[in-house]
């Protein structure tokens, strides 16, 4: 057990601080809003200094450094402290780019990675369908061959950000006669192709925009065969790389959320007494603190496994399940502490923190479902982690 950083990292930390001191933007950087020019500038500046796209090779528009997890930790710590976003949490950089780096053709990498990392090209993930969610491999959206192209017909749903995206990485069935998992291809599809219709869905948190949710209809959407990533029929395998990246990008900052909750409880008063003075509420806060600390230190343990190139085994499989539930439970206490005012939303007079906790609660619930539901996580933990047998297939009638 050694929780110190090697001395050689001190210089790196200093350099990050220096950068932030000189370049910290005055106003907020709306990382999510549209294709805002200042976001692109900010991301480009970060790449130039190696704080974003750090390990992506230079020829694909990255900074080209060797991977070093501790540098990543230091950058995250310092940017967090400064309250400045280090890059852009979006499907393109966190899911598509790693997939292209592993499975993409040379041409695809050269064409897409750089503008994606700079925030010039926004991506959405076209996986789920009305009939295929947890059982994603049953997806039916079809891509029929037509010369050098495919023609896509079908429907995707729960597509986050589809209405603001330039591109979609989509899973479609290209080999109708192949087995379920072997007939799927992973395709890069421009969202302005004729025949695509995006219908925004209002989410439970009332958001249209930032957390946009959509269904997307495809009728005879033409896409060149050259846009397939990897080989035809390998889409399922490739998508699983992406899902892995999605799950590992869900390492919520549990400790930060807990501190915010504790601050709320010091401020919020009930019958003139701060909530934190109530032994009942305080006990719940302390239970959550123990869980948040567990997940924080568990994260360090997982990081160590990564650093050593060791598999984290079942200990790694439980992270998404636990972090999402913990996040939801923290907002539940916050809402309880606010009592009848906790349900206020839409910026009414007595609303606390501009409805942050209700939004946080609903967002956490979405995370529990999205990217593999809690139940699917438990299946994975039990089957892959503990070696319990897979569900027997029902006999075909």
């Amino acid at each position: 057990m050694d929780l110190e950083f090697d001395a050689r990292y001190d210089a790196f930390r200093e350099q990050v601080r220096e950068f932030l001191a000189h370049n910290k933007p005055g106003g907020a950087i709306g990382m999510a809003e549209g294709r805002a020019e200042h976001r692109i500038q900010w991301l480009s500046l970060l790449i130039e200094h190696g704080y974003w796209a750090r390990t992506i090779p230079k020829e694909y528009g990255g900074y080209g450094a060797e991977p070093d997890l501790l540098e990543t930790v230091i950058m995250d710590e310092e940017f967090n402290k400064a309250g400045v976003p280090r890059g852009m949490m979006a499907q393109g950089p966190s899911m598509l780019v790693p997939t292209l780096l592993t499975h993409g053709s040379e041409e695809q990498r050269e064409r897409w990675i750089a503008p994606t990392m700079r925030g010039e090209v926004m991506w959405c993930q076209g996986y789920s369908e009305p009939g295929s969610g947890s059982d994603l491999a049953s997806l039916q959206t079809a891509a029929r061959e037509d010369g050098d192209d495919f023609l896509i017909n079908g429907q995707k749903i729960w597509t986050s950000g589809a209405d603001q995206s330039d591109m979609c990485f989509i899973l479609v069935r290209t080999e109708p006669d192949a087995k379920k998992h072997e007939g799927i291809s992973y395709i890069l599809l421009p969202m302005d192709t004729p025949g695509i219709e995006v219908q925004p869905l209002r989410t439970m948190s009332g958001d249209i925009g930032d957390n946009s949710f959509n269904q997307v209809l495809f009728s005879d959407v033409r896409v060149p065969k050259a846009n397939v990533v990897g080989a035809r029929g390998e889409g399922w395998k490739i998508a699983n790389t992406t899902l892995k990246h999605e799950r590992s990008s869900l390492n919520a900052n549990a400790e930060g959320t807990w501190m915010r909750l504790a601050r709320l409880m010091k401020k919020e008063t009930i019958n003139g007494v701060p909530a934190i003075a109530s032994p009942v509420y305080r006990d719940r806060l302390m239970r959550l603190q123990a869980r948040a600390l567990s997940m924080k230190h568990h994260g360090m343990r997982m990081l160590t496994c990564n650093l050593k190139g060791e598999s984290s085994g079942v200990a790694g499989l439980i992270v998404k399940l636990q972090n999402c539930q913990l996040s939801f439970d923290m907002s539940a206490l916050a809402i309880d502490v606010m009592g009848e005012l906790g349900a206020l939303y839409d910026h009414t007079k007595y609303e606390r923190e501009r409805g942050y906790w209700q939004a946080h609660s609903m967002f956490s619930l979405g995370l529990i479902i999205g990217g593999g539901t809690a139940q699917i996580q438990k299946n994975i933990i039990a089957e892959r982690g503990l070696g319990l047998p897979r569900e027997p297939k029902p006999a075909k009638a």
């Binding site: 050694d2 950083f5 934190i276 305080r282 600390l293 997940m295 160590t304 299946n379 319990l388 047998p389």
Partner: protein, 370 residues
């Protein structure tokens, strides 16, 4: 940066677990329960001597007194292994709590005790319950009005005290008495709990002459409690690990409806939920042990959190693992109850979860002045 066990620690874990697997099969625990009955100490003195030879009794005792001079994380590894094997030993009081306090108070007498602990000759019990939870008017006091320093009163749920040779008795948060267990006027009564693998006793003092009384020993007592809480949390976590392993093994074997029950999703999810609690708790425990030696500012409340949190997940796992076993899990013969009861008894030994969380809040300054 390296968050995890070192090579040496992995080796220690392997050694202790290997030894316990060879020497302390559950049948031996059953025999020990039989032998001890209700009148003698349930701790297995023969195993304790062998563990002492492996350096376990003196694991945190300084090398000058013949110990191994290791840290609390090393003790945690051992404690986890002992919980995993539900081994009845005085490890908690004798090898973790007493040495922590004795090293802190220092002096010739303390050093002699430390040497005796390391060699396995001395078993030391500790009486600390009244520091955090006074029931039945318990408490041991220096006889008032006279300066002869005799002890009166009683201590309940004293740990590993029944079969002990020496006793450490906390009179209050800052006063620690060292007592010979055969001193005249001292009476020891075994308090039988559900858990046949841990020794708890009542000590009554009627004008007992202590060997020494240390006043101003607040830091020693506080550190002793921290170390004890972390080690007890490790014991419970070890027992939890075993209960999950047993449930998973049983689920792979037992068939109903022509399928192994582990292929039923309800059973699978019970197992997944248990392991999903165990793994992060292990990370918390490691950090708490690390904090005890390396981040002393955090240790007082981190140790409370570690024990409270692991007690909570322990209760759930003890119940769920038993449920996975169905009816046989509820029998004496199946042995699973040894783990269930070890976890149940440990839950309140050094402060139950509610008391510990209240303390953790207080220590972090989260309790506003009224």
């Amino acid at each position: 940066m390296d968050f995890g066990l070192s090579e040496d620690q992995l080796l220690l874990e392997q050694t202790v677990r290997g030894f316990l697997a060879d020497q302390v099969a559950i049948e031996r625990v059953r025999d020990q329960r039989q032998k001890a009955g209700s009148k003698s100490c349930p701790n297995d003195r023969a195993i304790w001597s062998q563990l002492a030879e492996l350096g376990i009794a003196g694991i945190v005792v300084p090398e000058e007194q013949g110990g191994s001079g290791l840290g609390l994380l090393d003790a945690v590894i051992v404690s986890q292994a002992l919980g995993h094997a539900v081994t009845p030993t005085p490890f908690l009081a004798t090898a973790v709590m007493a040495p922590t306090a004795l090293e802190a108070v220092g002096g010739k007498l303390a050093e002699d005790w430390l040497a005796g602990i390391a060699s396995g000759e001395l078993v030391v019990g500790v009486a600390v319950t009244e520091l955090f939870s006074v029931r039945e008017d318990a408490g041991v006091r220096l006889r008032p009005g006279r300066q002869d320093g005799k002890l009166d009163g009683k201590a309940i749920m004293a740990l590993d005290a029944f079969g002990a040779d020496r006793l450490l008795v906390a009179l209050d948060a800052t006063t620690l008495a060292l007592v010979d267990a055969s001193a005249p006027g001292l009476e020891k009564t075994r308090l039988l709990t559900v858990d046949a693998t841990r020794c708890t006793a009542e000590l009554s003092f009627d004008g007992v002459d202590p060997l020494a009384v240390f006043e101003g020993a607040g830091a020693a007592i506080a550190r002793m409690l921290e170390a004890g809480r972390i080690a007890l949390a490790a014991d419970t976590l070890g027992a939890c690990e075993s209960m999950v392993e047993q449930a998973v093994a049983y689920a792979k074997d037992r068939k109903q409806f022509d399928r192994v029950i582990g292929s039923f999703q309800a059973v699978k999810h019970m197992c997944a939920e248990m392991i999903a609690e165990v793994e992060p708790a292990r990370s918390l425990l490691w950090y708490a042990a690390h904090a005890f030696d390396g981040v002393p500012d955090e240790s007082p409340w981190m140790s409370c959190h570690a024990l409270a949190h692991i007690a909570e997940i322990g209760r759930e796992i003890a119940s769920v693992s038993t449920q996975v076993h169905g009816g046989i899990g509820w029998t004496d013969e199946q042995n699973l109850h040894f783990w269930f009861k070890r976890i149940a008894n440990a839950r309140h030994l050094l402060g139950g979860p509610e008391l510990l969380r209240a303390r953790a809040a207080d220590l972090q300054g989260l309790v506003p002045a009224a």
